[in-house]
Symmetry: C2
Amino acid sequence: MMNKTDLKETRVFAEKAMKKFLIHDSAWFRIINFNLPAGVTFPVHSHELEGQLSIQVLEGEGFFLGKDNAEIPAAQGEILVCDIIEPHGVRATTDMRILVTIAPPI
Amino acid sequence: MMNKTDLKETRVFAEKAMKKFLIHDSAWFRIINFNLPAGVTFPVHSHELEGQLSIQVLEGEGFFLGKDNAEIPAAQGEILVCDIIEPHGVRATTDMRILVTIAPPI
């Protein structure tokens, strides 16, 4: 199988809420595009599971969020990797699109 | 651990050859940025391993390559997922940057 997705087609923003598009899901990894309007926060969370995830900023800017209220600047073209068990989140300063890859899927 | 990488810093092209930047490597996945100058081909290959990979076009355009000389148009913002065991490659029409995520790493 070769599955192609155009991320330009999931460039959809909801009003004042995060919008989620599942790009791929398998036993190996899950790929999700989240679109956050300016001002919206993807709350800090974590899961008691082994594995890692990447958060790539496709567009816009904001902050990667971590434990103890950590805020790491996040801009288009930046990618963050962390363990699934670590607290992580995102806050959008501008309209912001991120691509999250989780391995293994949770 | 939270590791941030700026993909703008790996926007380096070699002359007439593919350039490779390892973004992340762990037991869970490997993330690699390949930069292909116009006209360069990442030859079709495969590995006898279970798992999948994604190929995301960060910039430029060309073709995703598959078995039996398959050519699938590849443009900025598109992402292809395939099994590691399937023949896959990329041919750049313009200068082209791709981000490859392999789970598990090979």
